[in-house]
Symmetry: C2
Subunit: 409 residues, 2 copies
């Protein structure tokens, strides 16, 4: 996985001396988590709130073109104001109630996607109902297409005049942790909306509501080309709450595997990775599996190793396109440590490394996939993913004694 390399964020409450902290240690806040925004999710159906937030002078906009964010540099997002995107999203895209928006649904009109990301309580003087305060954040899709093609091209031309441009793929993105978390929220939701223009239940086009956090299948479509007075056939998503209307997040398991004696760590590699590069095993959780079961299944399928106890360590959002990485530590059973790659052909190699080898590689051999290892790295030594990858955090936890409660070696 190609990964950027900024500093890791502090956890949300790093200095809370709680019983949980004393027993389980400081929380690991993985890259792409640790957002400073309050999502106030219950305000998303409230068009009046959205409209006021959108037009407030402190409102801040992230712009995306084909899912790539506008940046000042590969390590800095660019922030824009409402005036910059007004030519794309119009005077007030939230002027109607949601009920009216659904009733007026017209599939022939293109509406650029807008996401309400949340309020940053540390800045701005926007306030709603005396209770919800902070700088409002939005993401807007300014991809030049359909009815906004010309306006978007003109906007982008202007931005280029200010030396702003869209990121060139995620290999080039290298954001500070706080920006990464906000970018991840925007990217995940823009991707989900773009990927799901049709209803999987009935096949008809759907409509974005809840400021980008929901898609609904309207019962009527007033587009001129639609027959039957715009009435659509019944759809199961209208007869109750359906998960199809809400954003999808795919749970993924990723695990550091330790040997039965706790002295070795199992790592694997894919053929396309650079020489000497290994990482922890990973895979998608399947229907009706617990995380613990998915970890045991994936490890057996990919490496032949049989695991006993599995413990969850921490989690990481991964917006390419919609993953939740659930990081775990698993321990092999004594008679289940033989590597066998023949079940699933996913890995080129999987093998046991000593904790000392992994500890040393964490010190001198980590980097992003497309980057060089550091100056202390010697050719032939083990290479590992950077600190921004949860794989790195899991290996670090193991060599720091997560399994035993004290350093293993």
């Amino acid at each position: 996985m190609p990964l950027p390399q900024p500093e890791l964020p502090e956890p949300a409450h790093p200095d809370v001396d709680s019983m949980l902290s004393r027993r389980f240690g400081k929380e690991v806040a993985n890259y792409f988590s640790g957002s400073s925004l309050n999502r106030v999710s219950f305000l998303r159906p409230d068009h009046s709130f959205l409209s006021q937030a959108l037009k407030h002078p402190s409102a801040t906009f992230l712009l995306f073109n084909n899912l790539e964010p506008l940046v000042k540099a590969p390590d800095q997002l660019a922030y824009r104001k409402f005036a910059d995107v007004q030519s794309i999203i119009g005077e007030d895209p939230f002027h109607r109630t949601e009920a009216d928006t659904i009733a007026q649904y017209n599939s022939s009109l293109y509406q650029p996607q807008i996401i309400f990301l949340g309020l940053d309580a540390r800045h701005g003087d926007f306030e709603y109902k005396g209770a919800y305060k902070g700088q409002p954040w939005f993401a807007v899709d300014v991809t030049p297409k359909e009815s906004v093609k010309d306006a978007a091209e003109k906007l982008i031309e202007g931005l280029k005049g200010e030396s702003l441009d869209f990121s060139k793929g995620r290999m080039n993105l290298n954001l500070p942790a706080e920006q990464a978390a906000i970018y991840a929220e925007a990217r995940h939701l823009l991707d989900w909306n773009a990927r799901n223009p049709f209803c999987a239940s009935c096949g008809y086009p759907t409509l974005s509501i809840n400021a980008g956090f929901k898609r609904t299948c309207p019962p009527k479509d007033i587009a001129p080309s639609v027959t039957n007075a715009g009435e659509r056939p019944p759809c199961a998503t209208r007869t109750g709450i359906s998960n199809l209307c809400f954003p999808r997040t795919d749970p993924t398991v990723i695990m550091a595997v330790v040997s039965a004696d706790g002295q070795k760590i199992l790592l694997g590699r894919q053929k396309r990775w650079p020489p000497y590069w290994y990482s922890t095993l990973a895979g998608f959780l399947e229907p009706a599996e617990s995380v613990e079961e998915a970890v045991r299944r994936e490890v057996w399928e990919e490496s032949g190793i049989h695991l006993g106890r599995v413990v969850i360590h921490s989690t990481q959002p991964w917006p390419y396109p919609a993953n939740l990485m659930i990081g775990a530590i698993g321990q092999a059973v004594p008679d289940g440590e033989t590597v066998h790659l023949g079940h699933d052909a996913e890995l080129e190699d999987a093998k046991w490394f000593t904790a000392e080898e992994v500890r040393e590689a964490l010190r001198v051999g980590t980097s992003g996939l497309g980057e060089d290892a550091g100056s202390e790295y010697k050719e032939g030594g083990l290479r590992l993913p950077p600190k921004t990858a949860i794989a790195n955090q899991l290996m670090t936890a193991v060599v720091n004694g997560f399994a035993s409660g004290s350093p293993m070696i």
Copy 2:
């Protein structure tokens, strides 16, 4: 949540004396997890494997009618043989390669859904390539509809003659843990297939492949009614691996919240629950949230409480329709313990209970939602969900000292 009440399964490797077990205790295997089947997921694209498994004398079939399983009694699934379902699924639904199945796609033909659930290595003498052994398990949708209406009605009539019938809703299901895990896999996948007949990317009908674990958007449809020689427009799901082709599982967080001093537990109740009934708070994880962040957000939105450290305890599949319950323990920060229900109107009440109250209610006040509390329960006392609910397991973990490492009181 309506919950059945069987014994809980033992974890996969209960007697492994590993470092993880010694430090973190025995793994909690929640209800609906702990399946005895090896899914051999890498064999699902292999039609020869599926065909042989289907026809093997030991092959076992679960039958479903409108997502309700065939049962002998509310606490026993009924198992059938291939001969019983042959009138529905035909001589050999896996006689073609997947590539041929896709090439021959005809949207006008109804194909009852079949799921390959896995192999039970403890039974049966089926063997594939000398490596994968065990009794093959399948689920088949025998809902009387489309071209199989008559055959399915006849089949169901015959089953009723043997005093077998389909479950009457999940409130009536009360399966032993091992059956519950297999049922959960079947139900989740049958529901996902039934819920997603169309491609969310292009709106055209999709086709089940990988023995029920994948839906693909074929490039051609040979149905007589289709124009343009059956060629369909391009679809984004065909140009790479798309998550839309794979089953959806929705990550959900559920959390026992302890007070800053560790002496109290926060519980909430919904208006529709019986009097005195409370449970842990819960909610869906959102895009680009870590589990830890989702726990803090949901707890604040529903109760106003601010959490510091969050630790994940265990997880539970929940096939109604497609949830993964991620169970966590969170601890309030000292100045964030005031309950405020005004943000999100989801709960009727949320309040702090002493660990002693919860401990006593776990002893005398647990039951399924539709059931009476036990004989020791006294009217007015706290009522809680049964052991099959992860909520119960989380509260049990807290009163048994999960947070502090030893009993809190």
